[in-house]
């Protein structure tokens, strides 16, 4: 019948239009790359914070690579004279511990598991937050209420004590699992602020247009909503990663976590309990892991700050009257700042 005919042409027309027929997949990918990756990167690179952040992270990745490829000796007791100072013996540039362990080896061989751990924790936290935040914000109604009550409940449980109890219970040795446990409840606050952003975004005309055109909910969430959240998510990804590092090092330092893998926190703990605080000749033992921690977190913060600049027009331009930013929903700017 006539009706079905128009129907099918309608479908054809739409699909054709959506995938712009004169454009091959690779071209489209390239365009997406240009628009979503290259351009922001170029802008990001222009900011000194991001540049520094990337350089620092690159350095840590390099360290991890050195460790994985075995380019530096493994740490072991009595591999060197005890209490070598910084740069005293260039074979052991960072010096050695009370039991003659090469500090550089300790630092370097801790890097891969720490990077793995903070990435896992950040992926977990932001992933869950995006899922719950967008679903609650977009769906609204009962789904929203349920999800938000749940995240309120999670928020009510103090993070570190819960992590400690879980760590004792599960005794996690795998860095990925450990990262996830440390951020087990981190997503809740982030999910809440994402939800309030989704509430604003979903009122936009183009979302409304998609909805009236009958585009399915998952597609709207994926195409119209999540891209708009990406800036905020990226920044918070970095902060979540930093939190994992701070918390894990802190817990290793306390001796709460199992010592199966190398970690700067373990080194810190041994140095602290080995009395490095009281003798100048052992100060480097304490200093090396501290510097490693602060360096990585500085890199992460710079990256986060720089990204915020790139993505956040309200910070970027303040030519009043030129563009009126409507992004007023930055409620939890302070949330990300934790330990």
């Amino acid at each position: 019948m006539k009706h079905t005919e128009t129907d099918s042409t309608g479908v054809d027309w739409r699909s054709e239009n959506a995938s712009a027929p004169d454009m091959s997949t690779s071209e489209r990918l390239r365009e997406v790359y240009e628009e979503r990756i290259r351009t922001p990167m170029v802008v990001a690179w222009a900011d000194w914070r991001t540049r520094f952040g990337f350089i620092i992270l690159g350095f840590y990745l390099l360290m991890a690579l050195v460790a994985v490829l075995g380019l530096w000796r493994e740490p072991s007791t009595s591999q060197a004279p005890r209490y070598l100072m910084l740069f005293e013996n260039m074979n052991y540039p960072l010096g050695t511990t009370a039991s003659g362990v090469d500090l550089a080896a300790l630092i370097i061989h801790s890097t891969p598991s720490i990077l793995l751990m903070i990435t896992a924790g950040a992926v977990w936290a932001t992933g869950i937050a995006v899922g719950i935040g967008t679903l609650a914000g977009y769906k609204g109604g009962r789904v929203d209420r349920m999800l938000m009550s749940f995240s309120d409940l999670v928020m009510a449980i103090p993070g570190l004590p819960l992590v400690i109890i879980l760590a004792v219970t599960l005794n996690p040795e795998n860095p990925i699992l450990l990262g996830v446990i440390i951020n087990i409840s981190y997503w809740a606050g982030l999910g809440r602020s994402l939800r309030s952003q989704v509430l604003t975004i979903r009122e936009n005309d183009y979302v409304e247009a998609s909805r009236t055109m009958g585009v399915s909910t998952p597609k709207i969430i994926a195409k119209d909503i999540i891209p708009n959240l990406m800036p905020y998510v990226t920044v918070n990804f970095v902060f979540a990663a930093r939190y994992v590092m701070f918390a894990s090092v802190g817990l290793y330092f306390l001796g709460v976590l199992p010592y199966s893998t190398q970690n700067w926190g373990v080194t810190l703990n041994f140095a602290y309990s080995g009395g490095a605080l009281f003798s100048w000749s052992a100060a480097h033992w304490l200093l090396a892991p501290m510097v490693a921690i602060m360096g990585l977190s500085l890199g992460l913060i710079l990256l986060g700050q720089g990204m915020d600049r790139v993505f956040n027009p309200r910070v970027r331009t303040r030519m009043a009257g030129e563009s009126k930013s409507t992004a007023s929903d930055d409620e939890d700017a302070g949330v990300t700042e934790v330990l």
Partner: protein, 349 residues
């Protein structure tokens, strides 16, 4: 039209950004007569907001305003707004010339009651608060608002139309002589736009106000204005009494603007969008800024920036070919224009 009693005279006003390299207001001169309503029309990015802000010397920060803004006080003295000390300027604004911005929703402090805005304004100008609040209530009542309720509400508790009217009342609370309005109805629906316009007309008569009404919406302001001015690319291009401008405009841009305006009476196929884009502040072409889009443009237009030609009584047009424009560019609503405007004129006069 009595052209002898101007209240504000703007002379060679220019607003520059970036150390004078970017113009957003380019040598604009215009006089506003006492107690008249001037409608200033321009598309977005034509510099019309700058025109409005310039009258109060309120250009947003990096911008620099030069030229003269003369203000003739009731007592006959004249001041140059740009020469005022900060304290004098602070007094001048709102006591002599007040301004209403587009988007009333963002003009109120979201964490302060509407009444608080009135009170602090009165206090800042050392006015009698009790007397002033009584005036505020009267103004609100004039605008068909329930004064007590509105004053005791937070901005978000009022609808867009109510906020806009409250903002108008706030702008008049110190009894200024001039009210400058920058797109005061942009965010409102058509019905609300109409009623606000009616209220403005009543206020204008009741308080003998001079109004400068800035908008992109030509028909809207045509219902209210005595005189109209058209802005294009950071400069005025035509100024004329309202009926003149609508019925007998001499500038091709004005005529194109009139033809592009949705008009219920005009058949759809006669509606024309204006082709091309208005220039960005950096690269305003030499010669007539409209030349690249103008169907009548000649070599002369591209080289010589047209001065104002006297094209009728109180009618100036910045176009070399104003006569040809009148002849060759037909207005698509000519047949009905007379009643439409006529009806408005009646309740106006």
């Amino acid at each position: 039209m009595d052209a002898t009693d101007p209240i504000i005279e703007m002379r060679n006003a220019r607003v520059t950004y970036d150390d004078g390299e970017t113009f957003v207001l380019d040598d604009v001169s215009m006089a506003v007569e006492r107690n008249e309503v001037v409608g200033v029309v321009g598309e977005s990015g034509s510099g019309k907001s700058m025109f409005a802000s310039a009258m109060l010397d309120a250009i947003p920060d990096p911008g620099r305003l030069s030229g003269e803004i003369l203000y003739h006080k009731d007592d006959g003295t004249t001041i140059d707004v740009l020469e005022l000390s900060p304290e004098e300027l602070r007094k001048f604004r709102w006591e002599e010339v007040a301004m209403v911005f587009q988007g009333a929703m963002s003009s109120f402090n979201p964490t302060m009651k509407v009444g608080g805005h009135f009170e602090e304004t009165l206090k800042a100008h050392d006015a009698d608060v009790i007397e002033g609040m009584a005036r505020a209530e009267e103004l609100l009542a004039d605008l068909y608002l329930d004064p007590e309720r509105v004053l005791d509400s937070y901005p978000h508790e009022l609808s867009g139309g109510m906020q806009q009217r409250a903002l108008i009342a706030l702008s008049l609370v110190l009894e200024p002589n001039v009210l400058v309005m920058d797109e005061p109805t942009a965010a409102l629906d058509l019905l609300m736009q109409r009623s606000i316009l009616m209220l403005l007309q009543e206020l204008q008569e009741k308080y003998d106000l001079t109004m400068v009404f800035i908008t992109h919406d030509l028909p809207l302001v045509a219902a209210l204005a005595d005189r109209m001015a058209v802005m294009y690319a950071f400069d005025l291009i035509e100024v004329a009494p309202r009926d003149q401008l609508i019925g007998d405009s001499g500038h091709p841009y004005t005529r194109a603007l009139l033809n592009s305006t949705p008009n219920l009476d005009a058949p759809l196929e006669e509606m024309r969008a204006i082709e091309g884009q208005s220039p960005a502040p950096i690269n305003v072409p030499s010669g007539c800024s409209y030349a690249p889009r103008c169907p009548l443009a000649t070599e002369e237009c591209r080289e010589v920036d047209p001065e104002f030609y006297e094209t009728g009584v109180g009618h100036s047009t910045a176009c070399h070919h104003w006569e040809r424009a009148r002849e060759t560019i037909d207005l698509n609503f000519e047949a009905v224009e007379d009643d439409a405007v006529g009806a408005d004129t009646e309740d106006h006069a």
